[in-house]
Symmetry: C2
Subunit: 405 residues, 2 copies
């Protein structure tokens, strides 16, 4: 009998009526002869409500107590879903993270799962019960409640699927799969039937925020087939798996983009070892996340160094960089906070030459100037003026024939 782990997010369990819908869907799946383990998030809005209660009492609540507080959100939904299932005559049992038990390290608010005890779940499944597990939470070795951080329920689902050697881990969400690009930008954007973990990782980190990136990594590490589906709409969704060498891969799977980027360049910094950390160290200290980093070959014993940050961090980053540039004796800083990053992603590009050139040519034909280029094995990213974002994405979508499978 197939064993499926299904995860439903906060919107899918946001009201009593939606919980009833989830129950109906589960019963239909069970009747098709599937063993089901269900992972739930808190009702949408609940986690934020609890956080603001906490902040009224303490501007920096301790991680341990915040986890005790936040973990109640999922504990409510798992009990409610079991009640909805029992009302329909289907036996179900709920488990908190501590009860399963999902053992984590003790990094409160962003704990990492270390081990899952699958014995109670297996025993319940063997009795024909649906098992409902609270996402996002676990406990450390001392029995303290921990949480996995935002989006942690996806990780719970994948980790459970790995521990149970489930046939598939299905993430039900409010989108019906992974698209070749954002349909709001390109109306011809097409849902992908299948995509590799690596492609999904590049898509996710580049802004297609369908899945928590950690859960995709987890799925890849344990080779768990992961499927993204809609809670509200029928359809097969997108299956995320390891690369299948026997399958013909599309050269390019999708086009991702980050809207709100800003770039900062220091010109004429001394070209010697340790310069990157001297520039980026002070930035990291302020908890500013740096996205692209580019340093070209230097000349005249100086070099130019560029990095991009989120637009919200632009002012702070610029101030820090000015200090650094002074102390390094750099020539000049140039910066632009109206840029955007567009990336094409596909495992197929490894075996196909000339992909980069098609990208550059396509943008050139539209008179879009490329100000930065960065590449990885399965991704090419370019930075362009933000006013060209839509044009760039649309023309690339057509150039790589993404509207047709």
């Amino acid at each position: 009998m197939a064993l499926i782990v299904q995860k439903y997010g906060g919107t899918s369990v946001g009201t009593v009526e939606r919980i009833q819908e989830v129950a109906k869907k589960l019963i239909k799946h069970q009747q098709q002869g599937v063993d089901l383990v269900v992972v739930l998030s808190a009702m949408s809005g609940e986690t934020n409500r609890l956080i603001s209660l906490a902040n009224e009492l303490n501007d920096q609540p301790k991680g341990r107590e915040l986890d005790v507080l936040l973990s109640t959100g999922e504990q409510v939904t798992i009990a409610l879903l079991c009640m909805a299932l029992e009302q329909q005559g289907v036996q179900a049992t709920s488990y908190t993270g501590s009860q399963v038990r999902i053992l984590t390290d003790n990094t409160h608010n962003k704990a990492r799962i270390m081990e899952i005890d699958d014995s109670v779940i297996r025993s319940d499944l063997s009795k024909g019960r649906i098992v409902v597990v609270a996402g996002f939470q676990g406990c450390d070795e001392q029995g303290n409640i921990t949480t996995l951080g935002r989006g942690g329920s996806d990780t719970t689902a994948v980790a459970l699927a790995a521990a149970l050697k489930a046939d598939e881990c299905q993430i039900y969400t409010d989108v019906d799969g992974v698209y070749t690009t954002d349909p709001r930008v390109v109306s011809e954007a097409r849902r992908l039937d299948q995509i590799t973990y690596e492609e999904m990782l590049e898509m996710a980190s580049l802004g297609a925020k369908v899945l928590q990136i950690r859960s995709v990594e987890f799925a890849r590490n344990y080779n768990v087939p992961l499927r993204v589906l809609s809670s509200f709409k029928d359809g097969g969704g997108t299956l995320i798996t390891a690369e299948d060498p026997t399958m013909e891969q599309a050269v390019i799977s999708g086009i991702a983009f980050n809207r709100d980027e800003a770039k900062l360049t220091v010109l004429g910094v001394p070209d010697h070892p340790g310069i990157a950390t001297k520039i980026l160290g002070p930035i990291a200290k302020e908890n500013i996340e740096v996205d692209m980093i580019i340093q070209n070959t230097g000349h005249d014993s100086t070099t130019d160094f560029t990095f991009t940050v989120h637009r919200n961090d632009y002012d702070t980053a610029l101030k820090i960089l000015q200090k650094t540039a002074n102390s390094l004796g750099a020539r000049e800083i140039i910066s632009d906070n109206k840029i955007t990053k567009v990336s094409i992603i596909g495992v197929g590009m490894r075996s196909h030459a000339g992909i980069a050139n098609i990208m550059f040519e396509t943008l050139a034909n539209e008179n879009i100037n490329i100000s930065m280029i960065s590449t990885s094995e399965i991704k090419i990213s370019v930075v362009v003026d933000e006013k060209y974002l839509e044009l760039a994405v649309r023309s690339l979508h057509t150039a790589f024939n993404l509207e047709h499978s």
Copy 2:
């Protein structure tokens, strides 16, 4: 160093501001050199909110899942109180019932505490921390979450005080102690400084609903000094302890009453063994709680049998009784749903003759007819027409000089 267990009810932690008030109060106590273990209820209204969510999904939710749901209420308040304490610079740690651990039997929704592990609490106290425990909940041997039933937080507090051999268990509530009678009926009603467990049990069961009756039993069994105080008003409250033979006891401690009673009498039932169970068995089967039961000496081989029930159960009880009376060949049923029960309570009556007579004389002087009398060692109850309730209570309060200590 004195060790005190303090329990705060739902109203005392009903808002963020009130939680801050509780934190301030705790810090003041700690600064006076007291080790503190705090037991909390859910925010007022929260348990009812959760129950109605449950009922929207299932008209008879399973006990296990209801407990998973309801136990979140206290989990929220314990985390919030710890945050409030830490904000004031005082170290505090929260524990759910499962974490302590408070081991119960597996009777969901009204579990009984079997054992408490005091090791983590003691270790925290020795480090100068305030320990905050979720009331109302525990877990069974399999780790399933259980709850103790309405008012169970009082029981948690007393059980913890017993396990920790605390110097006192203080129940903070919205009244400032136990009164000689209801101040809404007798404005001269006086707060009692001290009362025995036995008196409190009689007071509680008779309608002075200050404390959960189970928690008073528990306190008596383990000889835990129990104090009822106000969360909102300073004062020493009422201390409930074992009888102190060296102390001069007031003859009567208080006057309790039950407003909404109804009485049912079967006349002329055959006076032979098993008649009581034949009459009350069918009543109990319908889950109707019977309060007073009176059977007088029979004559002519028949007897008259009377019992009282809550007025809400009157119609059902009457219907059941009519069937029973027919099958027993009883002569007649008479009933009255406009009665009230008034009781005087005091351990002192054991050593003082004539107390009953003062009661009867007082009522006679006011022309109040007594329709039933029932006595225990420390209590005399009479049933009178409900219209005489206030008059009866006031005249007895004066007759026994309760307005003066």
